[in-house]
């Protein structure tokens, strides 16, 4: 039976690949098909350092277990087995060996934490992200119009207790350029997550978290709030549009022409204070 399970797991892994092939590109959130450096690094750590070794340990342990139960099952007329109480050498072995294997995991853990936790590069495009039940607002503090108002994209906030109808806000970014985001919330805790580009970071009221990421391929990437935030948590989506530097510049110029506050969808804007 357990062998069947491991077969099922294999099939499942294959299905994972099929699954991503079948997904609508605008909705795909497959963390195993990353298009940004952060997500790629996360996937590689996961596969190389943990999923791979874990798969081996999984197979070995299940095999030993099945073997033990079948091999040592009680046969007719069998005498009682020898009463073995333990073996200290074995105990030390299976304490120390796993400990060494596990200690090795400290390397990717600490290295990864430090790399992902560093400040965004100086030339990164800065974006201020504000979470609100149940929408996102994006502001580019360095991209200002003639009056000095920063370019701001408002999502359509839902009303608590009513399904939201708006299209998710688009976060336009240039491809291959580092993006440094700061995260703020005006109500409850949300979590900013674009699976194909980077792991999530919570959006906590009363504090400002920051992270960096990039997109290494032109395209649009689906994201959604990952911390349960109430009624319409499931619909608190966003789309990251990664475009070439020229297209991005053109989009910015276009938006700034109509004043700093761009709108993707109607409705009242999130409670963002303008400018510095």
């Amino acid at each position: 039976m357990r062998r069947l399970v491991s077969v099922a797991l294999l099939i499942a892994l294959v299905g994972l690949l099929i699954g991503c092939a079948g997904a609508d590109p605008d909705l795909d959130q497959n963390t195993f098909a990353p298009e940004g450096d952060v997500a790629r690094m996360q996937r590689d750590i996961l596969i190389v350092w943990v999923l791979g070794p874990a798969a081996v340990i999984f197979v070995v342990m299940q095999a030993l277990l099945i073997y033990a139960v079948i091999r040592f099952r009680r046969k007719k007329g069998q005498e009682l087995p020898r009463q073995v109480h333990g073996n200290n050498r074995l105990e030390y072995a299976w304490t120390i060996a796993p400990a060494i294997l596990l200690l090795m995991l400290i390397v990717p853990t600490v290295a990864g934490v430090i790399e992902l936790g560093r400040d965004a590069a100086d030339d990164a495009l800065r974006v201020r992200v504000v979470g609100q039940q149940f929408s996102w607002t994006f502001q580019y503090p360095d991209l200002t119009d003639a009056e000095g108002k920063p370019l701001t994209v408002f999502g359509l906030p839902g009303e608590v207790g009513k399904p939201s109808t708006g299209r998710p806000a688009e976060l336009h970014i240039p491809v291959d350029r580092e993006i440094g985001v700061t995260l703020e919330s005006v109500d409850v805790i949300h979590s900013f997550w674009v699976p194909k580009l980077a792991g999530k970071l919570d959006v906590v009221p009363g504090r400002t978290n920051s992270m960096w990421f990039n997109a290494t391929k032109i395209g649009s990437y689906s994201g959604q709030c990952a911390e349960f935030c109430g009624f319409q948590h499931a619909d608190m989506r966003l789309i990251v549009v990664a475009e070439s530097e020229e297209d991005f510049e053109a989009w910015v110029a276009d938006q700034l022409e109509g004043g700093g506050a761009a709108r993707s969808g109607a409705g009242e804007p999130a409670l963002v204070s303008y400018g510095e």
Binding site: L51, Q83, A226
Partner: protein
């Protein structure tokens, strides 16, 4: 003594009816009530789970609206953790601890009854919240809606009284847990039979002791946090309210500082059960007993230093995330030691393939997966992707359903004959196991894939085209299969009770003291308090070992037969058992009344306090049995 015994036995037989259950202080009856109540809550939580799974079985489904979905998943998680796994473990503590240490009851029998009634009251109180949202027949639910960990400030913002019921309910349940935690610590330290040294205690007793310590240290933390939450909600305090300078993350620190030890409160009893079942059915002692004990202690100790792994993505910074990542990685070492020792216990045994063994092996098998996904979660940078996705949902069910519940079912099949006198039917039992095992794997292993495919947890619906349809449909089918397996179990219990397949005192050739006495045990448990000479004492009464270490049966060794009682000559004094009392029940009723008053109308508080005071005074002034 003969007269006293006869009187007790007759009392035991005449001592029936509802009233006797309401006033009982007998640890076995309290254990049975704990078990039955927890199972009923398990059905409740299971129905909630099926509703959630049906809603998610296809994209854009509308069986539940978002509001209902949020309330039901909150109650599902809260129920399964606080009203099912914890009390089911408590059922085993109650049933087994006195028997395993050779005692006649727990240290504080009435406090024990109090624990049960408080638990029941707390569970009913919390579920009563369903009715506070308007017309429940129209689907207007009033249950809490902020998830089982109730993150502030969402839990502050939540309208209605659901969260208040949730918080007061947890506080009430905490009282029950604290009382039973202290009770079992004192019982285990003070009530052991002569010769039952700490290192001769059965492993289940050890795990109960460790769990009880975790309970008495963990519960106060969540108690404080819940009071802070209620102060914020009811009286406008600002512990978590960021607009007034409060700290939303303070709640998370408090909750998980309780919450991680809590997950070991949930799993250690099951580990103890498995450590009893495996030796009996492999007919070999537990391999590496001292190492299994020490690793249990190590897990408990380390469990205090890993809580922030639930908060990797809250922005604690590289230092904290690294430190908690490392401590979480290391907690896998003692966990692994246990698994290896269980495997070595099976190794070289003469394993009889009975239902309890199937569940115990199923436990190990699923817990290996749960442990591995735990380690996967501990790697901070990659966990930024998995946190708050279905990957976590898979992990926590691998350890809680595949782990804790499988272990508890092993215990149910193993000890059912001890407390009912009847064996559960093997064929139906194994059918139950296979349906549940297959159903479990079909339900929860796909969730790992869903998590990797980027599906967040706690969403009531998802769009078509995200690539999640197939695995969600599969998971729902698996969940229905688990549901069927539980029906099979219920059928088996009814069938077996009617079939009347007498178990006798020692149906499995057991190793520990509870098998030395009749099934079901008499009210006083042991005719004479046994003197313990070895670990697995009862086994050594039955077998001695020859030079090669093979057991040889001892002629005349074995369990007491009930008939022998008549001929027993005592030392000339009867067995004093504590008398029944209804004051624990009265005192327990006071608590939900007080909580109701604090939510609705302070006048009701006075009523609740009066009931509580009457209960406690009656209890204190009640004449002792002798």
């Amino acid at each position: 003594m003969v007269g006293a015994l006869r009187r007790l036995r007759q009392e035991g037989e005449s001592y029936q009816g509802v009233w006797s259950w309401l006033t009982t202080v007998d640890h076995k009856r309290i254990g049975i009530m704990y078990g039955v109540t927890a199972f009923l809550f398990f059905l409740m939580g299971g129905i909630e789970a099926l509703l959630l799974r049906i809603q998610l079985s296809s994209p854009n489904n509308a069986v539940l609206d978002p509001d209902q979905y949020n309330r039901i998943f909150t109650m599902h998680g809260t129920t399964m953790i606080f009203l099912v796994v914890m009390p089911l473990s408590a059922a085993f503590f109650n049933l087994l601890i006195p028997l395993m240490i050779g005692a006649r009851d727990v240290a504080f029998p009435r406090l024990n009854a109090f624990s049960f009634w408080v638990f029941l009251g707390g569970g009913l109180f919390m579920n009563a919240s369903f009715f506070t949202g308007g017309n429940i027949l129209k689907g207007e639910l009033g249950a809490p809606d902020a998830g089982w960990f109730g993150y502030a400030p969402l839990s502050l913002q939540s309208a209605g009284t659901g969260i208040d019921f949730w918080a007061f309910g947890l506080l009430i349940l905490g009282v029950a847990s604290m009382a039973s935690g202290f009770n079992f610590i004192v019982t285990i330290f003070n009530m052991r039979a002569p010769g039952m040294t700490l290192l001769r205690m059965p492993l289940f007793v050890w795990m109960t002791l460790v769990t009880s310590f975790l309970i008495i240290f963990a519960m106060p933390i969540i108690t404080v946090a819940l009071f802070q939450l209620l102060f914020d909600r009811l009286y406008g305090a600002n512990f978590f309210n960021f607009e007034a300078g409060g700290q939303p993350l303070l709640w998370q620190h408090m909750f998980w500082l309780f919450g991680h030890p809590e997950v070991y409160i949930l799993i250690l009893p099951a580990m103890g059960i498995v450590s009893e079942v495996l030796p009996t059915f492999s007919r070999k002692p537990l391999f590496g007993y001292p190492f299994v004990v020490i690793s249990g202690l190590a897990i408990a100790f380390m469990s205090w230093g890993v809580w922030a792994h639930h908060m990797y993505t809250t922005g604690l910074g590289p230092i904290a995330n690294s430190a908690f990542g490392v401590s979480t990685i290391l907690i896998a070492v003692p966990t692994g030691i246990k698994i290896f020792n269980w495997l070595a216990t099976l190794w070289g045994g003469a394993i009889s393939l009975k239902t309890p063994l199937f569940f115990a092996v199923g436990f190990i098998s699923m817990f290996v997966i749960g442990g591995l996904t735990g380690v996967i979660h501990s790697i901070v940078p990659s966990d930024y992707q998995q946190q708050d996705t279905y990957f976590v949902v898979a992990h926590l069910h691998q350890v809680l359903l595949g782990g804790a519940m499988f272990g508890l079912f092993a215990g149910i099949y193993y000890w059912f004959p001890k407390f009912t006198g009847r064996l559960l039917h093997e064929g139906w039992g194994q059918l139950h196991f296979w349906l549940m095992f297959i159903g479990f794997n079909i339900t929860f292993q796909p969730m790992m894939i869903l998590g990797l495919l980027g599906m967040p947890r706690r969403i009531y619906s998802y769009p078509e085209g995200a690539g999640w349809e197939w695995w969600n449909a599969v998971a729902t089918v698996g969940a229905l299969l688990i549901g069927v397996s539980i029906l099979v179990f219920m059928f088996n219990v009814v069938l077996s009770l009617r079939r009347n397949d007498q178990a006798g005192p020692d149906p499995w050739d057991g190793r520990t003291l509870e098998w030395a006495i009749p099934s079901p045990p008499p009210a006083y448990n042991f005719r004479e308090i046994p003197t313990v000479r070895a670990r697995d004492d009862f086994w050594h009464q039955k077998y001695e070992e020859d030079e090669t270490g093979r057991p040889v049966p001892i002629v005349g060794g074995g369990a007491q037969e009930p008939e022998e009682e008549e001929h027993a000559e005592g030392e000339g004094h009867g067995i004093h058992m504590p008398s029944p009392s209804f004051f624990p029940l009265i005192a327990a009723i006071g608590l939900p009344i007080i909580a109701t008053g604090l939510i609705y109308d302070a006048a009701i508080v006075a009523v609740g306090v009066a009931v509580l005071v009457v209960g406690i005074y009656g209890w204190a002034l009640e004449p002792a049995s002798e």
